[in-house]
Symmetry: C2
Subunit: 141 residues, 2 copies
Amino acid sequence: MRQQDAIIQTLKAKGLRVTPQRFAVYANLLDRCDHPTAEQVLSDLNQEAPTSSQSTVYTSLQALCEVGLVREVLLEEGVCRYDANVLPHHHFCCRCCGRIEDIAWEDLQGVSIDRVRSGLQVESYEVTLRGCCEQCQSANS
Amino acid sequence: MRQQDAIIQTLKAKGLRVTPQRFAVYANLLDRCDHPTAEQVLSDLNQEAPTSSQSTVYTSLQALCEVGLVREVLLEEGVCRYDANVLPHHHFCCRCCGRIEDIAWEDLQGVSIDRVRSGLQVESYEVTLRGCCEQCQSANS
DNA sequence: CTTTGTGCAAACGATTTGCAGGATG
DNA sequence: CATCCTGCAAATCGTTTGCACAAAG
């Protein structure tokens, strides 16, 4: 219950009205460790009973992105995934199963951004690793 | 003219039939320093006279990707961009104008991949820088 | 001649939009 | 009670597909 209050406070603090649908979208995203698409969130919420419409999920995700509570992740063709982990981190993308895992910032040190071509004002960066995840490795052998 | 022969040889070497349309798509991509979408390539080719249909451009790009002459670049929502530079390199993505620039591999050294969580088999990686490009910086001031 | 590529139009899937009614602060 | 959000359905955008014809090796 305290968890829920925290979510409500967070939404309010960002100037977003707290509606059941918006709450549900954000809570769902916080709850997952993967990076779901809008459609996955939608069907997840409506699993047992219909709670949100398609367009509401889309607008909610957009609103959450705008205030910085959620970020878009673009690692795959055709779909846009969402991530409630907005702390800077990297991604690992499995070539076999498509799974996307977060890589903690500290686990990948040593990028020297200051060396980049002058003229470009770099505000942030992230590393995308591609390869084969543990599950797929054992499945393949 | 030698340039054109080189393209033809490259396509043949990859086992692709050399058709005027496919040639044009690949030549166009090699010619540009940006990372056009399929639609941009299409309209570019048909600028003066119609040379290729929509579906042909899409299938050509797909064929070129499959043989490794072109790579997909996913840095923006909704569209898939293409890049004829298949040497490993990084990308800079301007937040203001959306421009995407290649960053040479050597310009960004020091990522220590071996330190990443064990279990993950990393085959490749790339860094995405985000910020403000030179043109936008001067435009904003 | 066999195989592969092209072009058209229709199909598709993800996302967006217009608008009327409903809930929130 | 003014504003913002929701839900529906239709619209849109990028991309894919089916199929008949044409071109390449």
